[in-house]
Amino acid sequence: MQTVQVPSTPVVYHRQQPLLWVGRGFFAILGLLVLYILGTNLIKNPTLFAQIFISGLQLGFVYAMIALGYTMVYGIVKLINFAHGDVFMVGAFTSFYAVSKYRLHQWPNTVFPNLDPGIGVIIGAITVILLSMLVCMILAITIERVAYKPLRDAPRISALITAIGVSFFLEFYGALNFVFSPRFIPYERPFEVVAWYIKDGIHRVLPGQQAPENSITFSNIFLIIIGVSILIQLLLQYLVRRTKIGIAMRACSYDRQAARLMGIDVDRVISFTFAVGAAFAGAGGVLYAIAYSLIWTQLGILPGLKAFVAAVLGGIGSIPGAFVGALIMGQAEAMTMGYISTPMRDAVAFTILIIVLLLRPTGIFGEPEKEKA
């Protein structure tokens, strides 16, 4: 629809909506209640609040890594890729085998014995992450080719059902004894976790010692997760804004037909999108495994779901939206765990989602739906 730019601010008549205050008042009361709970707790014990905030951040940044894949895939093929959480799981398992079985993280020190062990560990860990990313990419491309591509012109729901199927398959095929085994496997970290506390400056928590009272602790894992997550976000922004394939991705997600007319091989771009999303999920999987040091074949279900919800919260299809949504989800969960009760956290997370959607029907960063008729 062609419209005309109006130079001066137009006079807009607000049509009187009867009883508008009832709905607004209801949500305002809800909001005030949440603020009250958080506020009193902040005043009562600021360090505890900060501690919970930090754990919320860590959770949020992990979700962000997975949510990016969801949001990119949804943006381009409008598919809720339920298997994404399981790709994340495969990433964690790949790194487990690389580390525990093949000692891949030690290769720099084995090959170059003179290398400083610190640097060796860093290079080794990066190798492990890269390997997991690669495996996840290949897996995602395979899944896309086998399960989604043949259904591209079928009703959207068919692809959703196959996505659920692929997800089940990865979880339960992985649980077979000769694949990953169904066990909860303790995960050997490629490097050790070091914690610090903040009280009159930053100090290291020595092994076996407790951080002093009223201090805020954080670990190198926390820093790495935040670092990698932000790095991935920047990388993705660069990819999408500056590179040819990135621009093509955006073009495809806006209008696939027009993209084909530009000579863009849409199928390849879609595969690429799946691969990029999976690579980030793979990196997320490794960091997740390092952080919590325990892996099993169903570890992807819940982070996957949460990350997806985060993507919807932020406005699915929007990359910054996924990031912001993930951080909000992380905080919502941590705050619920800290101040209400842990089992309620899913309920609270989804309640927040529903309320946000009611107030902004396409999520925080979502573009409003197109005009009808």
Binding site: P10, V12, Y13
Partner: protein, 267 residues
């Protein structure tokens, strides 16, 4: 075509100061229009001039930013689309919007829904009233379709029909709503010249038979100039001219903004 004098007929539709903004952009500004009983009025203008937006506001799909729409003296602004339809305004769409997977018969029967004559309970219990009314409804729908020569294809799925028949089904469906005012959005779009002639006849025919007031958006000058009694020309969301077809054809403003220099000499 002789001109009818509608001076003393009652006003069916009166639009005053209708304005619609999308974001900061004005799609329609200060649009006025008055339709009297039995008139056939054309609304023309370049694509994007805001014609369809006016239709959407009349039928309640968009809520106007400001302005009033009186239908038979009632302000319909703020009413739900279905309420407006039930008051007696029906429409067709620029890009045909049939119910694609339903049969022609069902497409028409859906339009009868608001006055189907039985309640949900009747339907659930399959009371005699349900059977009787449903039979009546179907008979009525088939009769109706036969007027448009669609009765033979009553059992075809709408999406499989050729373009011209889809148009006719859409008009038939709109009329099945039992309207007093009919809004036609580019009914001739995509029709070949022969079909256009049939369409013009059809519009005349339904207007007489159903005692309709018709507001018509159309690009085919042949249709507009041929059947409309009055024409309103829009450009950039505003009315730039009104008058009889003859007046419009000679209006220099219209020629410049819409018809172009070419049109006059071809005509």
């Amino acid at each position: 075509m002789e001109m009818k004098s509608n001076g003393n007929k009652p006003t069916v539709l009166e639009i005053r100061g209708l304005t619609k903004f999308f974001g900061g952009l004005a799609a329609v500004r200060n649009f006025d229009l008055t339709l009297k009983q039995g008139e056939l009025v054309g609304l023309i203008g370049p694509n994007g001039a805001g014609k369809t937006t006016v239709f959407n506001m009349i039928t309640g799909l968009y809520v106007p930013t400001s302005g009033e729409i009186y239908f038979n003296g009632t302000n319909v602004v703020g009413l739900e689309p279905h309420e407006i339809t039930r008051m007696g305004i029906a429409r067709t769409f620029q890009n045909i919007r049939l119910f694609p997977n339903l049969t022609v018969l069902d497409n028409v029967r859906i339009a009868y829904h608001p006055h189907c004559g039985y309640t949900l309970t009747d339907g659930l219990l399959r009371t005699p009233r349900f059977s009787a009314k449903e039979k009546e409804l179907t008979e009525q729908a088939l009769n109706f379709l036969s007027i448009f020569q669609l009765d033979r294809i009553y059992n075809e799925v709408a999406k499989n029909l050729p373009y011209g028949e889809q148009r006719r089904v859409e008009i038939a469906r709109a009329l099945a709503c039992n309207p007093q005012l009919l809004l036609l959005d580019e009914p001739a779009a995509g029709m070949n010249p022969r079909e256009i002639i049939e369409l013009m006849d059809l519009i005349h025919f339904i207007r007489e038979r159903f005692d309709l007031t018709i507001l018509l958006i159309e690009h085919q000058m042949r249709v507009v100039m041929g059947i409309c009694e009055w024409i309103t020309v829009m450009d950039f969301g505003q009315v730039i001219a009104r008058g009889t077809p003859k007046e419009i054809q000679e209006n220099p403003l219209v020629i410049e903004a819409y018809l172009g220099k070419g049109v006059t000499h071809v005509a």
